[in-house]
Subunit: 312 residues, 2 copies
DNA sequence: AGAGAACCTGACAGATCCCGTCAGGTTTCG
DNA sequence: CGAAACCTGACGGGATCTGTCAGGTTCTCT
């Protein structure tokens, strides 16, 4: 890893909501293996880089990440500042934690700083979310305390009520449908807390207490299993730039928008209670295009065909 | 240069208002030569690092600098992003500027991106200023446009008047007595503009037009030569932490404070019109110590001796 | 269930470049 | 003038970085 490529990668990750190792290799002119090594380095250093394997997988920086190393936790700073120092130098500095590189020299082990890996604290399907800061608490800001594995106090606003402090044991974050949620147990009961409704939080000194043998993915699945059953359908679409503002007005908060793309369209996700709700998109004629799921495309096409037939 | 030492240096520079190459070498565990190479790299990459040669010299980050590479100018980003790319890769990216490293490979030359060096745009005596953000526009924010060598429009508040836009041709920045000034010509007339009184500025597309054979150091000297003659004396002192607030109240805006030090004192600079003004410091007895200039120390001692004699 | 798209890891040889040392230079202040 | 500070080039040795290769795991869609 060279410093210039380090910054280059950070800039690339920050400027795009999602990318792949292949694309980063293309941009930086090195092999994919090298990019993967670099990404590993960034993750070990504490940058909130998330990699997702599998179809539609890729690499991204958690939303809200600033290239500001002052956000790093003390062990992370030590990781940066102290790698390369020998035992004597570290003793003189009075630092007990062994840097990752020193440890690797001895045993080739991963970082032993007691922090949880970002990849273990975020669950999402590989459907792209959008890099633009969705408002509220940012995932990148929260991930620091999640990595420490501590209990949190969260200032949360339930719908229709004033915000209240709630103490939770977090499993991690869930990204779904363009939204971020904190997945946690509250007095042993699993909860999803929308980051939009968290205006601030505090870490407690107590370690988080999780139910035995229960993982983030399990809890997230358990809490979202009813979503499709409740008819919560996410329709993915692309909107021409000149119609975006109108779409926001008409579709309101059910529409979540991504970053404008070079081809002049803006991707978005429309939350529908039933399939029939896609009829609202008809108002945009061909300036909005449904891209998924297939049944939404088919239904929209069928509705349009009925209109055509009606005027024969 | 390794990435971890790169961040380590940035953090060290940011956390201390002033340091030396020797101290940085001690901290990072490498030789002074290596630290100097690293600092050169950081400067070439666009970080607002300033090195001052000579007695009381040292290295510092311009006040207000954030470790945010998005502040870098486009050529600076290219410098980071494109070093290591071969000609074909750069051609595919459509980038004309040759990266520093590619150029070094060919001819060992310095960066040819057309930007002025930070060291050529800042003049100060080596008396330490203080790293704490002094308020107003920050030097680190302004230095980016100064490096491009363009004319500026500055929103400036002259004493007793509402702020007005003024068009200036900048030579650079002056640090003196804990304050930062923009040194510029305004319609051919040299001016010092206190950064505290600039609330915003805009770069213009026009290149700056400077008087032939006139340099930053010349203009700064010309504009400040009357300061001592006008009796503007800067008295350096150290104040015990528990008296700092009282000192601020009594001495007001003539007192400029630095960062508290580990020994429990806070350094400061008191602007006096005449030497006799140091008498105000008597109020602090031994909880404030004058460190310079020598005549200020002598005079304060003499004043104290008179008081002692008076009570015999 | 299988295919394809995506990340992940270890090993190895070769190339690159980084580092420390050394020598000598310039600048600033008391 | 001396000391404290940064600056630069050259060189040899060693560290580490990179690309290649092989094989693995995960996720989604058909």
């Amino acid at each position: 890893m060279t410093p210039d490529r380090c910054f280059s990668l950070l800039l690339a990750l920050r400027s795009r909501p999602d990318t792949t190792v292949a694309a980063l290799a293309e941009d930086t002119g090195v092999s994919e293996r090298t990019v993967m090594r670099d990404l590993r380095w960034l993750q070990d250093a504490g940058f909130p880089v998330l990699a997702r394997r599998g179809r539609y997988g890729g690499v991204s920086m958690l939303p809200g990440a600033a290239l500001d190393t002052s956000r790093l936790t003390p062990p992370e700073r030590e990781h940066l500042a102290l790698t390369g120092l020998d035992e004597d130098q570290r003793r003189r500095l009075g630092v007990e934690a062994v840097s990752d590189r020193a440890r690797r020299k001895v045993a080739g082990a991963r970082s032993g700083d007691g922090l949880l890996a970002v990849g273990d604290l975020v669950v999402s399907d590989n459907r792209p979310w959008f890099g633009r800061d969705p408002g509220g608490v940012s995932p990148a800001a929260l991930i620091g305390d999640l990595r420490r594995g501590v209990r949190l106090k969260v200032h949360y606003e339930r719908t229709g009520r004033p915000p209240q402090w709630r103490t939770v044991d977090p499993y991690g974050l869930l990204a779904k449908g363009g939204r971020w949620y904190l997945v946690a147990d509250e007095a042993g009961t699993p909860r999803l807390l929308n980051l939009l409704k968290i205006d601030r939080w505090e870490p407690l000194r107590t370690a988080r207490r999780l139910r035995p043998d229960v993982r983030l993915a399990d809890v997230a699945a358990e809490l979202t299993s009813g979503w499709e059953t409740a008819g919560d359908l996410e329709v993915h679409l692309r909107i021409q730039a000149y119609q975006v503002e109108r779409a926001q007005r008409i579709l309101g908060s059910r529409l979540t928008l991504g970053e404008p793309e070079p081809d002049g369209t803006t991707p978005g996700v429309l939350r529908c209670r039933v399939l029939e709700d896609v009829r609202q998109i008809l108002a945009f004629a061909d300036s909005a295009t449904v891209t998924g799921p297939p049944e939404a495309r088919d239904h929209l096409k069928a509705l349009a065909q009925r209109i055509v037939d009606h005027y024969r």
